[in-house]
Amino acid sequence: MFEGVPIHWFLVLSTTMFFIGIYGFLVRKNLITMLMSIELILNSVCINFLAFNKILFPEHLEGMFFTLFIIAVAAAEASVAIAIIINIYRRLVNIDVEKMNEMKY
C-alpha cells in the first residue's frame, strides 16, 4: 500500500490504456497512428511492471529492468518501423494498412 493508492488503481489504469491502444491498433488505417497505438500498449505494460515492482516486490528491481529493456526495444522497434513505413510510402505513395494485402491467399 502506498499512501492510499492500492495496486489495483495502477492495474486498472494500465488495463484501460492497454485496451485503448488495442482499439487504436484495430481501427486506425494509417500505419503511423498504428505505431502510436503500439507505443500506448508498451507504456501501459511498463506502468504495470513498475507498479508490481514497487508495491509487491520492492526487494528486487526486476520490474524496473524490464521496463528499461522495454523502452530500449521500443526505441529500436520505432526506428525500424518508421524506416519500413517510409520505404512503403516510397513504393505505394500511401501508408494505408488496408492497401497492403499482398499476403492474402
Binding site: I22, F25, L26, V27, V97, E98, N101, M103, K104, Y105
Partner: protein, 639 residues
Amino acid sequence: MIDFSYTIWILLIPLIVFVVTGLTGNRFKPIVTGIIGTTGLGVVFLLSVFTAYKYFFVLDKVDGAFQRLLALNFTWLHLTDKLHIDIGVLLDPISVMMLIVISTVSFMVHIYSLGYMKGEKGFARFFSILSLFSFSMLGLVIATNIFQMYIFWELVGVSSFLLIGFYYERDSAVAASKKAFIVTRFADLGFLIGILVLSYTTGTFDFITLTGPNSPAFTSGQGIMFLGMSTMTWSMLFIFMGGAGKSAMFPLHIWLPDAMEGPTPVSALIHAATMVVAGVYLVARMFPIFHHQESALEIVAWVGGFTSLFAAVIACTQYDIKRVLAYSTMSQIGMMMLALGVSGYGGEDGLGYMASMFHLFTHAFFKALLFLGAGAIIHAVHSNYMNEMGGLRKYLPITHATFLIACLAIAGIPPFAGFFSKDEILVAVFHHNKILFAMAYLVAGMTAFYMFRLYFNVFWGKDQHYHHTPHEAPATMTIPLIILAIGSTFAGFIPFTKLVTSDSQPFETNTEWGIAIPAVFIALVGIGIATMLYMKKSETSKKISIALGGFYIAAFNKFYIDQVYLFITKKILFNLVSRPIAWFDRHIVDGAMNQIAFVTNVASDKIKGFQSGQLQQYALAFVSGVIGLALLFTYLWTN
C-alpha cells in the same frame, strides 16, 4: 503291353509346326509354309492310323473290352489337395476313332488348301492357324481329364475365331468371327460351371475315374439341389451347354451359319467335320454319367432332335450353298445328339451310342467332301449363291461326281456310308421314343430333299452367265475330293459295333429292314421331289414357297433367332446394362468423388477469405482469441 507314349508326338508336331510357321511368318515363301504344315499333318495322319491299328488290332483286350489306357500323363497345375490339372494322352475307342477322323480330314484339307488358298495374302498365316487348330482339336480328343478338354476346347474356339476372321478386311467376316467366339464362349461358361460343380462333388477331373465302373459321380451329388434335379444332373446339363454351344445346338446355333464367312477349307475342317462334333464327343465322353442322370440325357435327346428338324427346315429355304451345308451340318449333329440321348449303356442297349459315333465318323467324310466340293464350285464361279449357278456338271466333272456321291451318302442311300449310320440311329430312336422317331424320320426325308435341291440347282439346269468359263480345280484340290469320296462310299462297311461301343464291349446287330426300307424310301421321295422341282428350272418351287406363306418366310429368315439375339445383346446388354453402367460410373461413382473434391474446393474458397491480408483483421482475430481463451481458462474451465 504296348508303349503308346509316342502318341504325344501327334500333339507336338502340329504345335511345333504352328510355332515355327507362326514365328517365321512371311520370311519364307508362302508355299514353304504350306508344305511344312501339310507334311506335319501327313506325319500326324500316319501316326494316327498306326495308333489305331495298334490299338484295335494288336493290343490285347481285357475281359473282351478294349482297354482305356493312359499313354502319358503329367501334372500341369495343382489346384487343391485333390484336384490337379493333368495333360496327357488317353486312348480308348472313341478317342482313337476321333484321331483318325481329325487327322484324315485335316490332312485332306491341308492338301486341298494348297490349291484353294494359292495366291491369297495370308497364305502362311492360314496354314499356321490350321496347325494350331489341328493341335487343339487333337489335344481335345485325347484329353485325359475334363479340364484338359476344357483347355483345348478353348483353344479350338480361338483357332476357329481366327480362321473365320481370316479375311479380316471384310466386315461380315469380322462380325461372324466375333459372334462365333462369343456365343461359344457363353456356352463354355456353362461348361466351366459344370466342371466346377462336377469336380467339387466328385473330387476329380479324371475321365478314367469319372466314367469308370466305380465312379464317384454315380454316388455323390445325387440329392435334389435345385428345381427338382440333383447336383449331378445340373452339372451334366451345364456341361451339355458347353457341348451344345460348340456343336451349334438350338438355341446356341446362331454362330455356325455365319461362320461360313471363313475360307471354305476351314468350313470343311472345323465347321463340318471336326470342331462342331466336339459337343457330341463331349457327351459321349461323359456318357456313363449322363446315363445315370436320365433327365439330363432326355434333354440331350430332345435338344438334338429339335435342332435336327429345325435346321433341316431352314436348310430347305437357303440359297447360299455354304449355308445350306451349314444347316445340314447342324441337322446331322442334331441326329448324333439325338442318338446319344436315346442310348442305353452296355451291349445292345448302347446301340444309340454306337450309332452316334458311327454317324460322326461317316458324316466327317461326306460333309468334308461336300464342303470341299462346294469350295471347288465357288472357286470356279466366284459366287456362293445357287441361283447364280447351273449346268456346272459339264465343266466340273470330278467335282460333280464326288459331290453326287456325298449327296447320296448324306441322303442315306445304300450302299453309301450315310445309310448304315443313319439306319442305326433310326433304329435306336425307334426303340426309345416314337415322337422323336417321327422327327428323325422326317429329317431323313428332308435331308435328301435339300441336298438334291442343292445338287440339281448347281449342276443341272441352264448355264448362267459366268464371267469366265468355269474350269475344274487343280489336282491338289481334286485328289482330296476323290479320297474323301472313296471314304464316303466305303466307310459304312466298317464294323463299328465291334470297335466303338458304349462299354467297349463288341456286340452284334442285324440291319432291321423294317426301319431301313422305309428310311430309304423316304430319302428317295425327297430326292424325287427335288428332281421334279429343280432338275429343270421351273416355277413350281416358287409357287410352293408362296403357298407356304408365313412359314416359308420365317424359315427363310432362320426363324428370326438372330434378331432375338441381336435384340438381347444390342438392346438389352449394350443399351440397358453396359451403357447405364458406363454412365453410372462416370456420373455417380466418379461424380461422387468429384463432388467431394468440389465441396472441398468450395469450402476452401470460402475459408480462404479469412486470410485477407488485412493486418487489422488478423489482429482482431488474435485479440478475440486471446480474450476468449482468457475467459475460458479463468472463469469457465477452472478446476
